[in-house]
Amino acid sequence: MYIETEDDLRRKYEDTFVQYKKDLIVVSNFYYHHDKKVMYIVYTDQNGTETECVYDDGVVPLLFDTHFFNREIKGSNIPGTLYVRLAKKQYKRSLSIENSKLMCPIIDLYAASGRGCSLWRSNWNFMDVKSMLNPVYPNYFDAIKDLPKYQVLAISPKFAVCLSNLSQQRYLLCSSFGFIGECDLNVVTIKHEAALQEVLDYVAHATLPLRVELDA
């Protein structure tokens, strides 16, 4: 039976978010004390407290499936965010910028119009990871009503709604494959046919009194 060394553990978990003894932590280090028998772990918890204790092999790596979620950024009105797993070469076994990335549909609009957006950031903190672990989605109608207040809102793991650069009255419906249609309080118009069935499923599952039409 191979026992992982401090180097192995560092390579896998240093600077990653993990669950340890049911708490969400960021791992800083692993090391052996002088006797070389007992491994120690150094980590930071959600309160920002750095702790150093005997490591009891209980790190639970965190990795999610690709999904939309709503995050809270102080002073920002851009909660809707897409989490995507990456397949590039790296060693981190748990949530880190090496194996995952955050994206936001509205940022594409900013970029297309030649603007930058200082209200959104692609790195994440404890609040974001908690939001990923337990995502909360507003009702479709509430999200649409809130849209002028928020620029983008996730309404399900698959979909988000955001402000539109095409219309004053309607909004854009987004999936992980980009903008797929326009929507308002009465109608969802699907412009990318491949997304139709899933939107119909979403409307049916949420029992929304909403018309879905295809205009692709």
Binding site: M1, Y2, D8, P61, L63, D65, T66, V84, R85, L86, A87, K88, K89, Q90, Y91, K92, R93, N99, I106, D108, L109, A112, S113, G114, R115, L147, P148, Q151, K158, L163, S164, N165, L166, S167, Q168, Q169, Y171, L172, S175, S176, F177, G178, F179, I180, G181, K191, H192, E193, A194, A195, Q197, E198, D201, A216
Partner: protein
Amino acid sequence: MPENPAPQIPAGVFFANTNDEFVEIPRHLPPVRKARKELKPGQIDLEKTTVQELFDVHPPSKLSNEFANKFLTQHTELIPPYPYKFKDSQSLVGIEVEVENVLRIDPNITLGFWSIHEDGSLRNNGREFKTSAMPLRYTQPALTQLFNGLNDSVDFSSRTSIHVHLDVRQLTLSQLYGMSFTYGAVENLLFKFASQERRKNIFCVPISESLGLAGVNKAKNMVSFLSSIEDYWSKYSAYNLLPIANFGTVEFRQMCGTNNVTKLLIWMDMLSRLKIYAYKFHRTEIVKQISGLNTNSQYRGFVDGVFGDLAAYLDTSNLLKDMENTTYVIKNCALNNVFHSRVLSTMDLESNFNDLFKTEVSNISKLSKTQKECLSFLKKDIAPSMTLEKFYLLLKHDPIVYDLIVSKGFQQHYYHLLQPIAYAAPKFKDE
């Protein structure tokens, strides 16, 4: 020292004793080197160009049939009493088997089908065993030889896995897409068969999660996506397309470390059936089939169509959950999202997104005298009917207007207007 030491056997050849004579049989067929045929972009046809032609992949170093047959006649213990019947026993595969705690290796292993390699990711006397390209029908004796030739206490830890390279050189680019879409739709079922734990492994990321095939929409077209596959694909995808450029193979990384030969044979048979399905149905037909999947029975029908009798080995107890998301991903990757491109190339000033920047209009009052002159000049030429405020906003944020300005040679005006520090004011004719 024994009195009659065994003769030294040179690597790569096999000695068959016939009539008390040694006969040399090369282990591998020498690769046939054809003259390089460089394809120009216009010559690449999605429907006609094969993977081999696109990447100019040379035939692999392939296990010779003559050698394999001779080897098996001398190692009859490797001939299975009930040989596994592959649907396409001629299909070429290459196998990589990672094992830990390797304490004994039968020397015959390297004389037959395998070569031994070090692997930095393995611990505890870990070794990687690789075959050259070989027809599926030899995989059973090859795997039997390998696992019989190692100590019983070998460890298939979570660090180990088994990768299978499937030869796709003869597939057209369209058929390769067909195979990739078919794989994508059934990816979760294959993970369940191979190893559900591998799904969360960072070295085996499902394509439905990494959205690898979504790159098709980002590339100029389907041909350029494959031509520049290294720009769009990552090695640690469960379905690794990168080797098509070097070896003409697709690598399947889902299988966990195991010495269960039957499971591995079924696995490779399943993978070869993805290729057969791509030969059988055109890419557009496959996309149509996948797009039409919506009910449990339709999912079941598709799985049966792809895997035939092997579908019985797949866990189809929750098809809706396992295939709903993957088919959604494949549909979206296969069909170009024109609307997304339209949104990004359009800028309607009367939109709720642009309302966020209404305050920018008032910034015109902050422009210098020469900047205002530049603005009036450009507006007069490009959008005479528009108000100065709207035109200023359009100028700042619409890439099409910028292109128009460049085509008319007014860049100097544009840059002076928007970046007054770096660019001097242009001289007007009437000045």
